[in-house]
């Protein structure tokens, strides 16, 4: 612990300019903790200002989750936008950012997907330093279990496709899988484990820290983060372009509006007359009581619907499936949680005596091909980043980065160019669902 706290790089001043602009940000480091610890931590500043809405911004992001805060950060940091706001109807990071199981990986099947998620994964690797906020990215490895001959074929196809795309993903025998995760049961169960695809660079991160880290860094660049501000309408000018947002805190002019509203994307876009091929479903997750380290990696089983890792605090973090029906209630059925725990108990029968501590639900916006939309909309000045389904957290930095690029240039970055709305009309789906039914 002693070693851990007083880590290297104390040499920077306690405050520094994150970039060459606007405000200074109190720098976080072991030394800053030590210094302020001696004075009772009295002079820490708010991590982000409680901004009041201004009448107008160059660009407004709707939705204060990781994707939205990140997009605002990159708009300010990489595209020089001076006047950017993020509108959040509740408190930042309170939606799916704070409700997911934090699995990060990039071993998707389709070339387009692999490029997108690997762009994000590479950004995760340096995100704590980029933001000066420890997001606790932990590349402990993600293992996807194959239980049937069909699974083996599908995952081996992933392994080959990923290798061709320069994305790490290796095939493990059942013995090798147990080597990575010693508590895993591979035999003597209803669906024995026949092997696994393993991405060593994958892992987890601390979800709240992602929202707060982006918020703090964006704030330092002058971005206004406006909480408790609900968007109620989108005003458009005579040629149809966006003009302003009507909100619970007044009208805010903006010529560029980016929507990162996850489960509520359909609701916001409809305000501008744009309909989306999305449906919003409840998704649940749960944690156990904390225990000492027992689970070293992330294990996913799509065939029997189990997703599990162990948090740094010691809780087993378990993802359940979506409910069958669309809903905005942020809660799902008991049978959905039970189904997830059946699968966990089957693969890890020593966990049957572990106890569920907390269960919660989120609203996930699911697209027909289970791939996101990061695109311009038919309305000039209106951009949307949605359709992440159950797997948006892992893409947060990449998604935010590409969305900012798209808004700044009014055209997609090559990586997100395929992720349009139009692909559904043309039949150019990026079908991750059909390929493997891989969730999370």
């Amino acid at each position: 612990m002693l070693v851990a706290i007083f880590d290297a790089r104390h040499d920077l001043p306690p405050t520094y300019r994150l970039c060459h602009r606007d405000q200074t940000m109190q720098r976080f480091s072991g030394l800053s903790l030590l210094r302020r610890g001696l004075s009772g931590h009295r002079d820490w500043q708010p991590q982000w200002r409680k901004a009041e809405p201004k009448p107008a911004y160059d660009a407004v992001i709707v939705g204060g989750g990781g994707h939205g805060l990140g997009a605002a950060y990159y708009l300010a940091r990489e595209h020089g936008l001076r006047s950017v706001a993020v509108l959040e109807k509740g408190w930042i990071g309170g939606g799916n950012t704070g409700r997911n199981t934090t699995i990060i990986r990039s071993n998707y099947l389709r070339d387009e997907s692999a490029a997108l998620y690997d762009h994000a994964l590479k950004m995760w690797e340096g995100l704590s330093q980029e933001l000066n906020y420890n997001v606790m990215f932990s590349p402990r490895g993600v293992m996807m279990l194959a239980h049937t001959v069909h699974d083996v074929q599908v995952f081996k196809r992933h392994v080959h496709a990923n290798r061709a795309n320069g994305v790490d993903n290796e095939w493990l025998t059942p013995e090798e899988a147990r080597g990575v995760c010693p508590v895993l049961t591979t035999d003597g169960i209803r669906y024995p484990v026949l092997g696994a695809a393993f991405q060593g660079r994958g892992g987890t991160a601390r979800h709240d820290a992602v929202a707060w880290g982006y918020a703090r860094a964006a704030d330092a660049l002058g971005v206004d983060i406006i909480e408790n501000c609900e968007v109620t309408g989108i005003r458009r000018d005579a040629r149809g372009a966006v003009q302003a947002l009507e909100t619970s805190r007044g009208v805010i002019q903006a010529r560029r509006i980016g929507v990162c509203a996850a489960g509520h994307s359909s609701v916001i876009l409809r305000m501008a007359g744009v309909r989306l091929p999305l449906e919003s479903y409840p998704l649940q997750a749960l944690v156990s009581e904390p225990v000492k380290p027992i689970f070293p990696c992330v294990v996913m089983s799509n065939t029997i619907h189990a997703y599990i890792s162990q948090s740094d605090k010691g809780e087993l973090v378990i993802g359940a499936g979506t409910d069958a029906y669309t809903s905005y209630t942020q809660r799902g059925g008991l049978h959905i949680s039970s189904h997830a725990l059946e699968a966990i108990c089957e693969l890890f029968p020593m966990f049957r005596r572990m106890r569920m501590l907390r269960n919660w639900g989120g609203i996930v916006d699911v697209s027909p091909d289970r791939s996101p939309i990061i695109a311009r909309t038919p309305v000039p000045g209106l951009y949307v980043n949605c359709g992440w389904g159950t797997g948006g957290f892992k893409a947060t930095p990449g998604s935010a980065h590409l969305f900012a690029w798209t808004i700044a240039h009014d055209r997609p970055h090559p990586i997100n160019a395929p992720f349009t709305i139009e692909r559904f009309r043309e039949g150019r789906l990026i079908d991750e669902a059909a390929a493997a039914a891989v969730a999370h």
């Binding site: 851990a4 706290i5 880590d7 790089r9 610890g37 001696l38 009772g40 931590h41 009295r42 708010p46 991590q47 704070g98 070339d111 330093q129 420890n134 606790m136 990215f137 049937t148 074929q153 081996k156 196809r157 992933h158 080959h160 496709a161 290798r163 320069g166 049961t185 209803r190 669906y191 709240d208 225990v291 000492k292 027992i294 029997i304 605090k313 010691g314 809660r331 008991l334 039970s338 725990l341 059946e342 108990c345 089957e346 029968p349 020593m350 966990f351 049957r352 005596r353 572990m354 106890r355 569920m356 501590l357 907390r358 269960n359 919660w360 009309r425 043309e426 039949g427 079908d431 059909a434």
Partner: protein, 1006 residues
């Protein structure tokens, strides 16, 4: 050591039944009826655990489900270890073995406590601010250390052998909580004839009444002593035939439409549970009406040093004294912010405990009957005072108090009072957890300083202390009224008058937040969340750093996120943050109450779903025969299918090669029973089939079969299978094994919702028929002697024909079809006859070299012929043309599922991936399925692959490897050389037709 701190009499324990138990390897005794916590207190053991972050010595704070500190691991045997149990809820049994947690080397001397010295540098959220350098070090260096320090107990390491049960139940009225209000509600509802379930988390019903002294209780209900009322009410309840009383049963979750999850603990309290009986049972109760009588929880007071062993909630001390007959100390100081807690001092005084002081921290001049009683008893009462700190390492030894001036600030001399027990009460917090889970709105009540149930969403009522009605008589009346009105609303006639609901009472309001401290003194930590070691200072730091929503504060400081879910801490945390921000408490918000109320074992959710019962195991009528032959099975959906039949010494490769050759040269027998079968019948059956499948059905003659392809309306292949026309108005449709249920559902969807005018009906016959595939040049010779009434000759029964007949005297549907490329028949017999007919065929086939073959050989044989497997050679993005099956599309049909979608630009492109064959240069080299195909050998950068290998085998008949692949514009590349990219180099392959064997089909038609 024995229980010397036991009062001579009183309580609900049985002093004559002495139980031996071990805690941290030391032996103690307790009494029947004890909890682990009460037994340890009776032995003078107050140090029960170490805290999460600072490893502070901790004792028992409460006496129930809200306990944050006294967490233990209980061990029955190596496979039955349960971590993180609250000692306050663990019922004592003979031989119980428990261990403290989160300490090393011992509870008394815990090295981890050094982190307490670092505490100035590790405030809330410290980990977000450091551990970032060098890049990557978080995962490699810091995280392992943090993870090792975190966590409470150890997870079990062996499979849990216990059984868990499930039960669905329904009732008119579900009453949660068997305290006075709940008992009254249940009695009233049951008395009206309603079907009632009453559940309570404790080992016996009674709730707060269990903490009342049996002998000289002041508590009375309508003039009747509480204890007598309890006994009488219980007798009355158990006499109701339609009432189910469930003890040791926690209502842990409130789900939509009045479904509640109950966790019933059946055997954890038993010394030797029957391993054949369930350990726990999960009830899923659907109630017409719900009455919540979940009581209230006492709040601790937040003052420096409030966490030492020997500092308890006042109500808990009453429980230990009156229910368990335990004297938790000899010199007690009570610190209180409400009247009710005075009763604890009075009870202890009466039991002979010396009351050193009652410190009333309220401003103003509190008064009331209990205060009066304390004065009459001569107990020293110090009003308008605050607590500055406590001392004592492993047990509290003294407390320091100071008077408050008229402005409420500490002033005057500091008084130090020696004691070995400090009781505290900050007031009561109504337990609104389940009400909130039901999505009912909570309303802040300023006079109670509490959230109370407001507008309900479900059909639910809250009664008694959980809605702020604390006094006994009022709570009982409240319960009676709710029980009656619930029964009435559930449809029962209620004769008794429904008493008016009493108003909430502010007597137990107390004082949320931290006690006032002198300015500028940075003293000991004042804990808010005992388990997660969150202090008042952590909360103010969070507010200072801009975390203003209570949800942000909670996440930043982790307050309320421990295993007690903030039962003792949430309101205090909210008050402290509100004060720091200068906001009203409800403006700062209330954290959401989430399922479960208290932690619930994973096993109880999984129930019996384990191993063979995890999912149904579907086996065919011939399964046992295959098993006896040594078949290796694979899971296909829920089905078990024989994959191959190894002879002694054979591996899969050898067995499959032998099976394939047998089919090609002689005759193979294959169990095809798992294929889906749907009878499509009615006068519009052909019209329906025309609209569903791509093929033309109108011209299919009765007695003929056709390979059908089913798309979805997005144009991609969904399923395939042979369809036989059995009559002008009747089709026998087969589907893939995995697709059976989906195809039937899809058909029903279109039939019912798009074309309800058609006279056509669907019936699944998957399980009606056992299907025996007989394939190979000798198939006809094997079959002929067993058949009656059918001519099997090629002329009479050509390829793709179907007929009814008899085999072995059994009525049969015979189809001449082949998925192998050989002469083949599929014999459909009613399932009960599957095995005997199979055996008869097998016996007859002996003379012809008949060989059973499994799915693996079947896959190779069909790949020889270029037949696709849906889901292997297709992946939901493949059109008929992609798969080389455009020929199957009925010409001139105006419409069928998917037709329009096929015309979309991306689906009509000539550059789509198309099914082709691949041949390696080295005939013995078998490509890997899933491998990527690239155009050239030398690539400077990654480039998109042209496609991938979908199927790849060694073909025994061809004596070489073969593969099927989806390749961009594949058919135009036939003859080209492409490369299969592998980690150790590219493999050149020649693109060919996907049909490797008998392209003319002469064997098929033979």
């Amino acid at each position: 050591m024995s229980g010397d701190l036991r009062a001579a009499s009183g309580g609900r324990i049985d002093r004559n039944r002495v139980l031996r138990f071990r805690f941290d390897d030391r032996e103690y005794t307790g009494a029947a009826g004890d909890t682990l916590a009460s037994a340890l207190l009776a032995n003078g053991v107050h140090l029960l655990g170490r805290s999460f972050k600072y490893h502070r010595p901790r004792g028992v704070l409460s006496a129930g489900a809200d306990e944050p500190s006294a967490l233990v691991t209980v061990r029955r045997d190596a496979a039955r270890m349960t971590p993180n149990l609250r000692a306050t809820q663990v019922e004592l049994y003979e031989g119980l073995e428990a261990f403290s947690q989160n300490r090393w080397p011992s509870l008394e001397l815990d090295v981890g406590a050094v982190s307490g010295l670092l505490s100035p540098f590790i405030p809330a959220g410290f980990y977000y601010k450091t551990f970032m350098w060098p890049r990557g070090a978080w995962h490699r260096l810091y995280e392992p250390k943090i993870r090792a320090a975190a966590g409470l107990g150890r997870a079990p390491e062996q499979a849990d052998p216990d059984i868990y049960a499930n039960r669905f139940a329904h009732c008119d009225v579900l009453v949660v909580g068997a305290g006075p209000a709940g008992l009254a509600a249940a009695a009233a509802a049951a008395g009206s004839g309603a079907r009632v379930i009453l559940c309570d988390e404790q080992s016996e019903p009674g709730g707060s009444l269990l903490a009342e002294p049996a002998a000289h209780s002041e508590a009375a209900i309508a003039g009747e002593p509480a204890a007598r009322w309890l006994t009488r009410t219980l007798r009355q309840l158990t006499a109701h035939p339609r009432l189910t009383l469930l003890t040791r049963t926690t209502a842990f979750g409130y789900f939509p439409h009045n479904l509640l999850g109950l966790n019933q603990r059946l055997s954890d309290h038993l010394p030797r549970p029957d391993p054949g009986q369930p350990r726990e049972r999960q009830w899923q109760v659907r109630a017409r009406e719900v009455v919540l009588a979940t009581g209230a929880l006492e709040r601790p007071l937040v003052f420096p040093g409030n966490d030492r062993p020997g500092i308890l909630l006042a109500g808990a001390a009453r429980t230990y004294l009156n229910r368990f007959g335990v004297l938790p100390g000899s010199r007690v100081v009570l610190v209180t912010a409400c009247d009710a807690a005075y009763q604890a001092a009075l009870d202890l005084h009466r039991a002979g405990v010396s009351v050193s002081a009652i410190v009333d921290v309220r401003s103003g001049a509190p008064d009331g009957p209990l205060l009066e009683a304390a004065r009459l008893a001569g107990l020293p009462v110090e009003t308008q005072a605050t607590v500055l700190g406590t001392s004592g390492r492993l047990r509290v030894r003294a407390i320091r108090i100071q008077k408050l001036d008229s402005a409420g600030a500490p002033a005057g001399p500091v008084r130090r009072i020696r004691c070995d027990l400090v009781l505290m009460s900050g007031g009561l917090t109504p337990s609104v957890h389940l009400f909130s889970q039901s999505r009912g709105k909570l309303a802040w009540d300023e006079s109670l300083a509490a959230f109370l149930p407001g507008q309900a969403v479900e059909r639910v009522r809250s009664v008694g202390a959980c809605r702020g009605v604390f006094s006994l008589a009022a709570a009982v009346s409240d319960g009676t009224g709710a029980g009656l009105s619930a029964a009435r609303d559930a449809g029962f006639s209620v004769s008794a008058a429904i008493p008016e609901a009493p108003l909430p009472e502010s007597a137990a309001a107390g004082r949320p937040g931290a006690l006032p401290q002198p300015p500028g003194v940075s003293g000991e930590k004042a804990f808010v969340d005992w388990q997660n070691d969150v202090t008042a200072r952590d909360l103010t730091l969070a507010a200072r750093e801009g975390f203003r929503s209570i949800e942000h504060v909670k996440r930043y400081t982790t307050t309320g996120m421990a295993t007690d879910q903030g039962k003792t801490s949430n309101i205090n945390a909210l008050a402290i943050v509100a004060r720091e921000l200068g906001e009203a408490m409800p403006r700062v918000g209330l954290t959401t109450f989430r399922m479960p109320y208290t932690p619930v074992s994973f096993g109880s959710f999984a129930g019996f779903a384990r191993g063979e019962l995890f999912d149904p195991v579907r086996a065919t009528p011939m399964h046992d025969w295959a098993a006896r032959q040594g078949a290796v099975f694979e899971n296909v959906g829920l089905w078990k299918r024989a994959r191959y039949f190894p002879l002694p010494g054979e591996d899969m490769h050898a067995a499959v090669a032998r099976e394939c050759l047998a089919v090609r040269e002689h005759c193979g027998i294959f169990d095809a029973s798992t294929l889906g079968k749907i009878e499509v019948a009615g006068k519009d059956a052909a019209t329906f089939m025309n609209r569903m499948y791509v093929n033309a059905w109108a011209n299919l003659a009765v007695g003929r079969c056709r390979y059908g392809i089913l798309l979805r309306d997005d144009g991609f292949i969904y399923d395939d299978g042979v369809v036989a026309r059995m009559a002008p108005d009747r089709f026998h449709v087969t589907t893939t094994t995995g697709g059976a249920a989906g195809v039937l559902a899809l058909m029903e969807d279109y039939r019912q919702t798009e074309w309800p005018d058609l006279d056509v009906w669907l019936t699944s016959t998957t399980e009606q028929w056992a299907v025996i595939a007989l394939q190979g040049p000798a198939a006809r010779r094997v079959l002929e002697p067993l058949i009656e009434g059918l001519d099997l000759s090629a002329g009479a029964m050509p390829h793709m024909s179907a007929a009814r007949g008899r085999i072995c005297g059994i009525p049969m549907l015979l189809m001449r079809v082949s998925f192998t490329g050989e002469l083949g028949f599929e014999i459909n017999v009613p399932a009960d006859f599957g095995l005997p007919v199979w055996q008869a065929v097998f016996e007859t086939g002996q003379a012809h070299g008949i060989t059973p073959y499994g799915t693996e050989a079947m896959h190779v044989l069909r790949a020889d012929k270029g037949y696709i497997i849906v889901g292997q050679d297709t992946d939901g993005t493949v059109t008929p043309d992609d798969a080389g099956l455009a020929w199957s599309i009925g010409k001139g049909k105006p419409d069928f599922l998917g037709k329009r979608a096929l015309e979309r630009p991306a689906l009509a492109s000539p550059y789509r991936k198309q099914l082709v064959g691949l041949l390696t240069r080295d005939p013995q080299q078998v490509l890997e399925e899933g491998a990527q195909i690239v155009p050239g050998r030398h690539r400077s950068a990654p480039e998109p692959a042209l496609g991938h290998v979908t199927s790849s085998y060694h073909s025994a008949r061809l004596g070489r490897s073969i593969a099927l692949a989806l390749v961009g514009a594949g058919r135009s590349r036939i003859g080209e050389t492409l490369y299969v990219s592998m980690p150790d180099g590219d493999i050149p392959v020649q693109v060919t037709s996907p049909v490797f064997y008998d392209p003319q089909g002469s064997r098929l038609n033979g």
